[in-house]
Each structure stands twice: as structure tokens, then as C-alpha cells.
């Protein structure tokens, strides 16, 4: 007995009417009308376009955009103590921190030291959020702003002052459940 050949069991399957016959013509005509109905439904439903420069796509609250540095709300002191853990955690090596000692008449942060230089190179940042996770004082968090384009690369190295300040425009948020 010869081994089983799957090809012997194969049969022709014709789904729907034969093309070319009367039934096929009916199906083609019906399909055309269905297509016309589908496109007309789009007119009735209206456009779904978001007119970008005027309207912005809302992002989720967890969206990782432009970084923010924070201050204590009561004292106004910076939360960052210049520990460089964020720079160590950064896979893109885009954070540069130079720490300096706080003195009684020049108290910048709440700890012993503060970040004299805190720069993030936005052309390199991959927005992974590891800096936020690494920070022991929640001094750096990821914001929601995604409009970071600029004309010069040098303008994309964000300094401490830029990161501490409020972003010039706020990105609309959407609710978590949407």
C-alpha cells in the first residue's frame, strides 16, 4: 500500500457564485452598491482628522515626553541633589550632571550638594524614563510635551533652567481609560 498523499484528498472549493454567470453579475453589482454605501457612511460620520498645529493629539498621563525638574513647593528649593544616578542610569548617556556643595548663604537644594550643571541632550534622549526611575528624590520626571523640534542641534541641549521652568505650552491629556 502506497503512503497517503494529501493531494488525493484535495477538492476544488468554489466560494460564492461563479464569476461571469448571472449570479456572479448579481454579486458584483451588489458588491458595488455595498462599496458605495460604505464610502457614503464616511461622509455621514464626518472626518476624523485632528488639525494638528491647531488641535493637538491628547496624550495619556503616563506619556513620556520632555523632562521636568522639580522644586519643593513650600521652600522653593530644588529637589535635585546632584547625585548623578540619572546620568548613570541613562542608556543614551545624554544627561550631564556637575555637582557642587551647598553653602548656608547659597542654599540651592535641600541636600548637601546641588546640581550646578544639569543638561539633557534631547537629540540623544530616547525617552525611556530610566532617569525618572533612578532618581531617589523624584527630582526629575517625564513630562507630556512632545513638540521638541528645533532648528539648531545646540538648542536641543536643555539646561537646568529650561527643565525647571514650566513648558511654554501644555499638551492636552486624555483620561487613562480612553
Amino acid at each position: 500500500m502506497s503512503p497517503w498523499d494529501p493531494g488525493q484528498d484535495a477538492i476544488e472549493v468554489q466560494r460564492g457564485p461563479e464569476p461571469g454567470g448571472l449570479a456572479g453579475a448579481y454579486r458584483a453589482f451588489g458588491g458595488t452598491l455595498k462599496g458605495l454605501k460604505t464610502t457614503l457612511a464616511r461622509v455621514v460620520e464626518g472626518p476624523v482628522t485632528i488639525q494638528y498645529p491647531e488641535q493637538k493629539t491628547p496624550v495619556y498621563p503616563r506619556f513620556r515626553g520632555r523632562h521636568k525638574l522639580h522644586r519643593f513647593e513650600d521652600t522653593g528649593l530644588e529637589k535635585c541633589v546632584g547625585c548623578s544616578l540619572c546620568a548613570a542610569a541613562c542608556p543614551a548617556k545624554c544627561i550631564r550632571v556637575v555637582a557642587a556643595e551647598n553653602t548656608p548663604d547659597h542654599q540651592v537644594s535641600a541636600g548637601e550638594r546641588y546640581a550646578a550643571v544639569y543638561e539633557i541632550n534631547m537629540t540623544r534622549c530616547i525617552f525611556c524614563g530610566y532617569c525618572e526611575v533612578a532618581c531617589p528624590f523624584d527630582a526629575i520626571t517625564m513630562g507630556n510635551d512632545y513638540e521638541l523640534a528645533d532648528y539648531e542641534r545646540s538648542d536641543l541641549i536643555f539646561t537646568k533652567e529650561m527643565l525647571l521652568a514650566d513648558p511654554p505650552e501644555h499638551t492636552p491629556l486624555r483620561r487613562e481609560g480612553e
Partner: protein, 326 residues
């Protein structure tokens, strides 16, 4: 005699002005509507609601270089868009917008009322394809050539069905003149007794205007832009304009032959309005179909034309002939 000549001149000017005014409107309408059919807005940046978009397009086209490839025949390339546009505008003279004394004057609301009306339409419709063919062939590029050949084959397949589909109307009305045909539809629009003819005419009309789903001559996904691959600037613009006038013409012929032309409720002075409304509906339908149907494969187009449209149109003519004779 002088007076009739003057009237003719005024009519020509009006027709030309209306056409050149209506074509950009249709362009913007098409782009807006296509957008809506695809759940987007379409152009809305130039001018109020994007209405000045065709102006910007024309400005751009005017500032472009007129390039002809080394292998082309430049004077033929320049001639082709002229043929397309001339034949298109010439056909517009036929479109009847109202009866002879619609506005009380001693003139009809149409360019000319020739006794061979529909034959004139077929003649110029076929001539318009020479523009496409000549342009494609004279461009000296393989894509243009393919587009030109396709338009020739398409013309042969569909012109016959187009003619036969209108033959039923001609037999029922007993005249080739479009004015007489519209006047014969006072009681009942021919779309009712000639429904099959209407369907065949619309399908063949899409092929005649070389628009989706029969836009094989310019099939941009397959052969770049077909016959107008090598065209740029206002020469391309002329082809484009010709295409839109062609849409108006086919819509107008459909309105006049099947949808009762200028007939509609209200006084006879409103006749041009009804005609315009019907033409507009036809144009919207053209855009709707373009937004819906994908392009046919080439062999599908041919077999559909010969195996379905032509027999259908023939049977329609035969049945009409039997009814008219009895």
C-alpha cells in the same frame, strides 16, 4: 442675420466663461468630497475653507517648466492637450439648458441645436481620445506609450456600448437632437423606460472620461501617470481641465437623455437651474464612484465591455425597437 450672429457670439462667450469657471469649482469639489468620503477634510488651508486651492494649483502649474524628453516629438506633444480641450469645449455647445423661449427671448439656452446632436457628441468624444493617444505616443516614453495604447483599446471597447445605450433613447424620442429628446421627456423621464440603457451609459461614461474605476490610461499605480507622464506645467493642466469638462459633458448628456433635462417643478424660467442641479448630481456621483471603486485589471475591463455591456446594450435596443414599432 447680424442679430443671430451676435447671439451666437454671446452664447460662445458665456459657454466658455461658464466652463472655465466651473472646472476649478469641480476640482475643489472633488478634492473636498474625496476627503469626506475618506473620513478627512480635504484642502482647507488656501483661502476660506480651502476654496482657493485650484488658484494655487494653477499658479504652481503656470510656473513649471515645459519639458519634453529627447525622444519626443515636441510639436505633437504641444498639440495633444489642445485637441483634448478643444473637443471637450466644442461638445459643451450641445448641452441644452432650457427650451427655445425659456427666458422669453428669441434664443435658446444652448450653444447650438444640431439635428445630429448625439452623433456630434460621439464624434467629439472619440476625437478627444486622439489627444490622449497623440500625447502619449509623441512623448516618446514607454509609460506614456502604454497609457496611449490603453486609452485606444478602451475607446474601442466602450464607444460601441455608449452609442448603443443612447440608441434606445433616440428611438423613443424619434430624434437625435438633444433639445427634442429633452422635450419628449415632459411626461416621463427616460430613466424609467430606459433604465438598462442608463446603467450602460453611466458605466461606459466612466470609461469615456477615463476615470476611476476605468482610469487605465493614466493608472498611476501601474504606469506612473500613463499618457501624461511626460507632461508638466499648464500642458498637464490642460489635460486635467479637459478631463473635468468631459465629466461635466457626460453628466449633462446623462441628465438630458435620461433625467429629464431641464424639466422640473416651478416655472419654465427655472429650467437652467434644474439642468445644473442634475449635472451637479452627476458630477457628485462620478466623485463618489471614484472614492469607492478600485481600478479594474486590464483584461477585466475588456471582457466586461465586450461580454456584458455590449450584449446588454444590444438587447436593450432590440426590446426598445419592438416597443417603439408596436
Amino acid at each position: 442675420m447680424i442679430e443671430t450672429t451676435l447671439v451666437q457670439i454671446v452664447k460662445s462667450i458665456v459657454i466658455f466663461a461658464v466652463v472655465l469657471g466651473i472646472a476649478p469649482l469641480i476640482v475643489v469639489l472633488e478634492r473636498k468630497l474625496l476627503g469626506r468620503f475618506q473620513a478627512r477634510y480635504g484642502p482647507n488651508r488656501v483661502g476660506p475653507r480651502g476654496l482657493l486651492q485650484p488658484m494655487a494649483d494653477v499658479m504652481k502649474l503656470f510656473s513649471k517648466e515645459q519639458f519634453s524628453p529627447a525622444t519626443s516629438v515636441p510639436w505633437m506633444m504641444a498639440l495633444a492637450p489642445v485637441i483634448t480641450i478643444t473637443t471637450a469645449v466644442a461638445t459643451l455647445a450641445l448641452i441644452p439648458f432650457g427650451p427655445f423661449d425659456a427666458w422669453g427671448g428669441n434664443f435658446g439656452l444652448y450653444g447650438i441645436d444640431v439635428s445630429i446632436g448625439l452623433l456630434y457628441f460621439f464624434a467629439f468624444g472619440s476625437l478627444a481620445f486622439y489627444g490622449l493617444m497623440l500625447g502619449g505616443w509623441a512623448s516618446g516614453s514607454k509609460f506614456s506609450f502604454l497609457g496611449a495604447m490603453r486609452s485606444a483599446a478602451q475607446l474601442i471597447s466602450y464607444e460601441v456600448a455608449l452609442g448603443l445605450s443612447l440608441l434606445g433613447v433616440v428611438m423613443t424620442a424619434g430624434s437625435l437632437s438633444l433639445v427634442d429628446i429633452v422635450e419628449a421627456q415632459g411626461d416621463i423621464w427616460y430613466i424609467v423606460p430606459q433604465f438598462v440603457g442608463f446603467l450602460v451609459f453611466m458605466v461606459a461614461g466612466f470609461a469615456e472620461t477615463a476615470r476611476a474605476p476605468f482610469d487605465l490610461p493614466e493608472a498611476d499605480a501601474e504606469i506612473v501617470a500613463g499618457y501624461n507622464t511626460e507632461y508638466g506645467g499648464m500642458r498637464f493642466g490642460s489635460f486635467y481641465l479637459g478631463e473635468y469638462i468631459e465629466i461635466v459633458i457626460v453628466s449633462a448628456i446623462a441628465a438630458a437623455c435620461f433625467l429629464g433635462g431641464w424639466h422640473g417643478p416651478g416655472p419654465i424660467a427655472l429650467a437652467p437651474l434644474w439642468m445644473l442641479v442634475k449635472i451637479f448630481a452627476g458630477v457628485v456621483f462620478f466623485i463618489w464612484v471614484r472614492a469607492t471603486l478600485p481600478r479594474l485589471r486590464y483584461d477585466q475591463l475588456m471582457s466586461f465591455g465586450w461580454k456584458w455591456l455590449l450584449p446588454l446594450a444590444t438587447v436593450n435596443v432590440l426590446v426598445t425597437a419592438i416597443f417603439v414599432a408596436t
